[in-house]
């Protein structure tokens, strides 16, 4: 962190000056290691053992954190009659929650985590699972977790991670002492976890540990990913990912979902925040198809294309090689260098009908037809590659306005400093004007209706007719069923429902 995110690291150093204890767990000694209270070298790939042993330490010593005010699983402000919370008892000083803000929890908040491979809300679990408030039933989650993690002992940590027991205990005692009513512990990780073959297990183990210690949803707690790119978080929240629609709404699946009601019934439980998912989905559909989206036609839910399996990056490359994929847009990315198996990437590109690359410089993905290693070896010949290639120069970050979402999910607006040079344009310009041209070319066929009826009327600014990024940003909040833009992103009202109180 000290080397790759030095400006973010100033806050770690400042916290340490104020008395925070900082551990650095890494196989490699770096500038970060040199500036912390304790550096723990760890054998690469053994993080599950260390985290598991910490979980075991908490559970077997009864150190897991129970509610702040001992309210039998409830937090402050709970109203037994309505089953809801009054947030005023724990809101920040001076923060008056909006009247329409839906506040739910307690018994109704029982959403299960689960198959998020096709969405973020997990499986549609029962809202009323069997419960054991004493946490002693051998089949309750608490006891299962306890049994499972009992195998991870300090001795195992020493043997597999290479961390001696006294160092392990120092760590375990420090995170225990710094979690609880008055203090929190944060875990910070990066691609050392996410790009490991068992990265998901690492992060889930850290999440279990933080939940046990009461470090979730509290200032200074949590499990924080240090993101490597300016808006990699935004690219997930407002995704250009095959399995998600904006706001972690799942793309519908041909085998799992029929109409809108069927989709909503299968995509998550009716509890927690995702219990509002009908409002989220409808507001997205209204934003996209405007007046064409009505209650009678499922708000154009049928216009959404259906998935039938994995349509990810590598499946796409295999589709290029087998000839299914004919046209490819590559925008600010260089897969022949940056993705795994560059040769497969290049063979895929060489088999396309057309390729559009947008970047600041002609990257290897744009020039593969003349300088691929396979040209040198004779596996590909420039004269035999039929791919038509368009390279369109892009605007840099100072030549357009818009937002990045940073590593802590803060949206920051960038002002435009000057116009981009020559033919350089923002990707916003490109997709907006491409969409306009496509719409002009379509007829009245049924398959063209989703594009023809799409809302695509952003204000155009200046000589180059840049679409107004602020108007797009506003639309990201969605539209209410009646068509209006929401006054507050916190107040999605399901169609036909009375205002929340």
């Amino acid at each position: 962190m000290a080397e790759c995110h030095p400006v973010g690291y100033q806050w770690v150093m400042e916290a340490r000056e104020r008395g925070a204890k900082v551990f650095h767990i890494d196989p490699r000694f770096s500038r970060t290691s040199a500036t912390v209270d304790r550096y723990l070298p760890i054998r690469a790939g053994t993080d599950i053992v260390l985290l598991g042993a910490l979980i075991n330490y908490m559970l077997s010593n009864g150190l897991d954190f129970r509610d702040t005010e001992d309210l039998d699983g409830l937090f402050s402000g709970y109203d037994e009659e309505t089953g809801r919370y009054d947030p005023s008892s724990w809101a920040y000083e001076g923060d008056v929650p909006g009247e329409e803000e839906p506040v739910e929890g307690g018994e109704r908040h029982a959403e299960a985590a689960g198959a998020d491979s096709y969405g973020a809300r997990g499986a549609g679990a029962s809202a009323t699972p069997p419960r054991d408030p004493t946490l002693t039933d051998p089949r309750c989650v608490y006891q299962i977790v306890k049994r499972h993690y009992s195998r991870y002992t300090p001795e195992m940590v020493e043997e597999l991670c290479g961390i001696p027991p006294e160092r392990f205990h120092e760590l375990a005692e420090a995170i225990t002492a710094n979690s609880g009513r008055e203090r929190t512990t944060a875990w910070v990780y990066s691609v050392g976890w996410t790009q490991h073959s068992v990265g998901v297990q690492y992060i889930r183990a850290a999440a279990i540990l933080q939940l046990l210690l009461g470090n979730m949803g509290r200032p200074g707690g949590g499990v924080m990913a240090l993101r490597g790119h300016a808006s990699i978080q935004g690219s997930t929240d407002i995704p250009t990912l095959f399995n998600l629609l904006p706001g972690y709404i799942a793309m519908p699946h041909a085998y799992r979902h029929g109409g809108l009601d069927d989709y909503l019934r299968r995509e998550g439980a009716d509890t927690g925040w995702w219990g509002n998912r009908r409002a989220y989905v409808v507001s997205l559909l209204k934003a996209w198809w405007g007046d064409a989206a009505t209650e009678d036609n499922d708000y154009c839910f049928g216009y959404l294309p259906r998935l039938t399996g994995d349509h990810g990056h590598y499946a796409t490359v295999m589709g290029q090689i087998d000839g299914t994929v004919k046209g490819y847009f590559v925008v600010g990315e260089n897969p022949v260098v940056g993705s795994a198996n560059g040769k497969a990437q290049r063979l895929g590109l060489a088999n396309l009908d057309w390729l559009v690359v947008r970047d600041l410089v002609p990257v290897e993905t744009a020039t593969f037809w003349k300088d691929a290693p396979e040209i040198e070896t004779g596996e590909l010949r420039t004269e035999e590659i039929g791919t038509e290639v368009f390279f369109l120069p892009a605007a840099s970050h100072v030549e357009k306005e818009g937002t990045f979402t940073n590593t802590q999910r803060l949206l920051q607006w960038r002002e435009k400093a000057l116009d981009p040079p020559g033919d350089c344009r923002s990707d916003l310009w490109f997709y907006y004007h491409l969409g306009k041209r496509i719409r002009q070319r379509l007829g009245d066929d049924e398959i063209d209706r989703p594009v023809k009826e799409l809302t695509w009327d952003y204000p155009e600014i200046g000589e180059r007719r840049d679409p107004d990024a602020e108007a797009v940003l506003r639309e990201i909040n969605g539209r209410a069923a009646g068509g209006r833009l929401p006054a507050s992103p916190r107040s999605p009202s399901p169609p036909g429902s009375p205002p929340r109180s």
């Binding site: 100033q10 300016a230 904006p246 847009f329 990045f404 920051q412």
Partner: protein, 175 residues
């Protein structure tokens, strides 16, 4: 030099000359300054972008940013070079099928040609049903984006691709 030999502090008056007195900071001459955000990692440090005569003359840390308090790392400090470096391509390039060289192409023509290809490929590869189930999609068009795209750009891309029925949409965020 004489002043330094006489024992004056080499960091003060002794180091000054007519040339150093004439030096002015880039930012002083700037015509406009825009508040931006560093394009590299996701810490999100604030940047001040100084412009004169249609050129970026300097990029510095923004002291008003609560994230970075005016600081930039060496990479962020050098981000002016990302914007102004001479290797940057500013004209459209076109490579025709089986072609051996880039050719120039007008931006408007390129946009029309790309739109024609999207419409044609979409129609030729349209799948209304798959194994008896309605899918309304094309597997003939795919997209891959980097993780420095703006939120607004990602949104518009996904919106257009989805309306077209192109489902193979990916981003560095997964890779």
């Amino acid at each position: 030099m004489i002043r330094q030999l006489k024992g004056e502090d080499g960091r003060g008056r002794a180091a000054r000359s007519a040339r150093t007195d004439a030096l002015r900071p880039h930012v002083e001459e700037a015509e406009t300054v825009a508040r931006s955000v560093c394009p590299y990692c996701a810490v999100g440090c604030g940047q001040l972008v100084y412009v004169k005569d249609g050129e970026v003359t300097q990029i510095e840390g923004d002291p008003d940013s609560p994230i970075s308090r005016g600081r930039l790392c060496p990479k962020g400090s050098a981000s002016r070079q990302l914007v102004t470096h001479p290797g940057r391509q500013t004209k459209v390039l076109y490579r025709r099928p089986y072609g051996t060289e880039w050719e120039p192409l007008d931006l408007e023509t390129a946009m029309d040609m790309i739109a024609d290809r999207v419409v044609r490929t979409r129609r030729e590869t349209w799948q209304q049903t798959y194994e008896g189930r309605q899918v309304r999609r094309t597997l003939g068009i795919a997209g891959l984006g980097g993780a420095t795209l703006d939120n607004e750009e990602n949104y518009l891309m996904k919106k257009l691709y989805t309306a077209l029925g192109a489902i193979q949409v990916e981003n560095q965020a997964r890779i």
